[in-house]
Amino acid sequence: MSRIQVPIGPQHPALKEPENFTLTLEGEVVVDALARIGYNHRGIEKACEQRTYSRCVYLLERICGICSHSHTTCFVQAVEEIMGLEVPPRALYIRTIVAELERIHSHLLWLGVAGHEVGFDTFFMYTWRDRELVMDLLELISGNRVNYAINNIGGVRRDLGPEAAEGILRALPVLEERTRYYQHVATNDSTFLARLQGVGVIPYQQAVDLCAVGPLARASGVDADVRRDEPYAAYGEIPFNVITHTGGDNLARAVVRVGELYESIGMLRYCVEHLPDGPIAVRPRRRVGPGEAISRYEAPRGEDIHYVRANGSDRPDRVKVRAPTLANLPTIMQALRGVHLADVPITLASIDPCFSCTDRLVRLAPAGGGDGKVWTWAQLRDYGIRWYGGKPDGWR
């Protein structure tokens, strides 16, 4: 059978952000898949080098519109490690509470998107309605629905009052009941099952070999979760289970996420009931380092890694972000092989991709084709100095 190449993206209704996937099809079946990323590059890492540490927090909050808290927590943890700051326990608990609320809203969002990708829009409408409960809680706690701006180096910016604690405890039973309903639908609706079961299978060994992270890895039976393996914030003190599944298909990924919703609900209840007293922040110095640190964080989509190098000034020397979607892309390119064209959207969506988180560089190809120019760091630096050299001072 003849092979044809079908481009998915950079503009395609299945993708909520621009990214390009080239699929090679034999009939309706995908035999090869290639990703080309970089359409969302915003130069955030470089921009961090020109900002003070506390301003970096606000910039990094905007890496992602869903897991904004993940990126700031990951960053401030690295900075706190370099400074040797002792963050008060109450602040750690508040960070954990916001993190788990974020996980719930992210997973509910994903369930809805999964429904939409297979044409089950009612599921989408239901989950997104219930997600509003969490959004309201986050607004109650932080004053914001999306970019909560709760983190600061050395602690958190807002205390969790009794009103917010009560609000959380009131909303949790409702969320739990809705989660049970979604679990029932996701594992019993025959049309939904027909589209998810056995599609996009990644066996255990492949998930390990390709370094899959987060719910994608756990759905293939990889028992890994940073929250348990290298506890940060308050996770060392909170009882919870790491949800795994051996299915490895899109259904397993949905089941794992629904299971994590239950765990998050339990963790929130524990956190609110065991919230320690005390201050919510310590005052950090303005200058950091010299030193470097790597911080790991279990974001809703998987392990997020931030690397920070400090040179003793009030601005970071280097910030490097490795978002979970980047780690999961090689795995999902494998998962796409052998699925039907109709299953490509749901399989791509099964890693809960966030391309704006992922894109850290862009390679420009000349419009006329041929090889792009590849520069070393030193060459690029020289070019920059030459370019700025001819400009008046105000340019910098």
Binding site: V6, H12, P13, A14, E28, G115, H116, E117, V118, G119, F120, D121, T122, F123, M125, Y126, R129, D189, T191, F192, A194, R195, H340, L341, A342, D343, V344, P345, I346
Partner: protein
């Protein structure tokens, strides 16, 4: 010619073009689309559109720029939506609306209506194929593939009432069954099969594979815009009404007056109930893959339709009918 002839001609024209013909059908198409969208929204805990939304959408589309892709043939591109609407509107004049008789009826009109209702799917295929877009082409091929799935069960399903009534005329079948309502429960399987097949014909969830947004954008209609798209949408709305009118005639005992309730009200009521059922199916399912859809049609719908036919033939052969 005498004056009386002219009155007859005018009356005939009125029946074909205004009521219960074309204009009435368009009005019902808009109303049906509204009810469908509203019910779908309410099933999903949404507010849904106001009653005039389908008309507003239509006017908006007519006012929009209407592009023809360079690769598409302009004549074909324009002709297909018109033909789709025309085919559906032609089918409507053979269906009894209020009271027992259609505008036109002859022995065998059931087959003509079935044929006319097949046309839109073939036209969708052509529209997608000739629009010069890969999404349109894939959508078109899917529309044609799907046709192979639902068409046979639908034809088998409409066969059963015809056998019961012993006639190939829809008006005749409708009248016969209205006279013997005790026969209606015997055709429940056929009703379900016909409704599901119609859902496939109308390309609605779980059979909206040709238009699967996340896979092929809008499928056949990807390249359509403005007035041509408006015509296609109107044709689909009209197809919903015509298909449901056919089903209500064949399975729900037609639209004769119930005591003081006039036939038109009975008709609108039955139509509304069927729209609500189809909207519920749309709300309660995910989209199948094309091969799952065809498999479902042949493994489930066709045997069910055959069973229905067997029941009817057996009963007719023995004592009941």
């Amino acid at each position: 010619m005498g004056g009386a002839d002219w009155t007859a001609v005018l009356r005939e024209l009125f029946r074909v073009l205004v009521f219960p013909g074309f204009a009435f059908l368009l009005l019902l198409a808009l109303a049906g689309e509204w009810l469908d969208r509203k019910a779908y929204a309410r099933y999903q805990h949404r507010m849904g559109p106001p009653w005039f939304q389908p008309a507003a959408d239509l006017i908006k589309l007519l006012a929009k720029e209407d592009l023809v892709p360079r690769l598409a043939s302009r004549a074909v591109f324009t002709f297909l939506p018109v033909l789709a609407l025309a085919a559906v509107a032609c089918a409507y004049v053979y269906l009894p609306v209020a009271g027992g008789r259609a505008v036109y009826a002859f022995p065998g009109d059931l087959l003509v209506v079935a044929y006319l209702l097949t046309l839109p799917a073939i036209l969708f295929f052509l529209a997608g194929w000739f629009s010069g877009s890969p999404y349109g082409a894939v959508g078109g091929v899917r529309a044609a593939t799907q046709l192979l799935g639902y068409e046979v069960p639908l034809l088998l399903a409409v066969l059963a009432p015809a056998v019961v009534a012993g006639s190939w005329s829809i008006s005749e079948v409708s009248r016969t069954l209205a006279g013997r309502p005790e026969l209606l429960p015997l055709q429940v399987i056929g009703l379900v099969v016909a409704l599901l097949a119609l859902q496939g014909k109308l390309e609605r969830v779980p059979f909206d594979i040709p238009e699967a947004e996340t896979e092929v954008v809008a499928g056949t209609f990807t390249e359509y815009s403005g007035g041509r798209l408006a015509l296609f949408r109107l044709a689909i709305g009209a197809e919903l009404v015509v298909g449901l009118t056919l089903i209500s005639n064949l399975y729900l005992g037609g639209h004769a007056a119930w005591g003081p309730v006039p036939g038109l009200v009975v008709y609108l009521f039955k139509l509304a109930v069927l729209v609500l059922i189809l909207a519920a199916v749309r709300a309660a399912a995910a989209r199948l893959r094309i091969e799952q859809m065809v498999t479902f049609c042949w493994r489930v719908l066709v045997p069910a339709a055959l069973l229905q036919l067997f029941v009817v033939v057996a009963l007719r052969g023995w004592w009941l009918l």
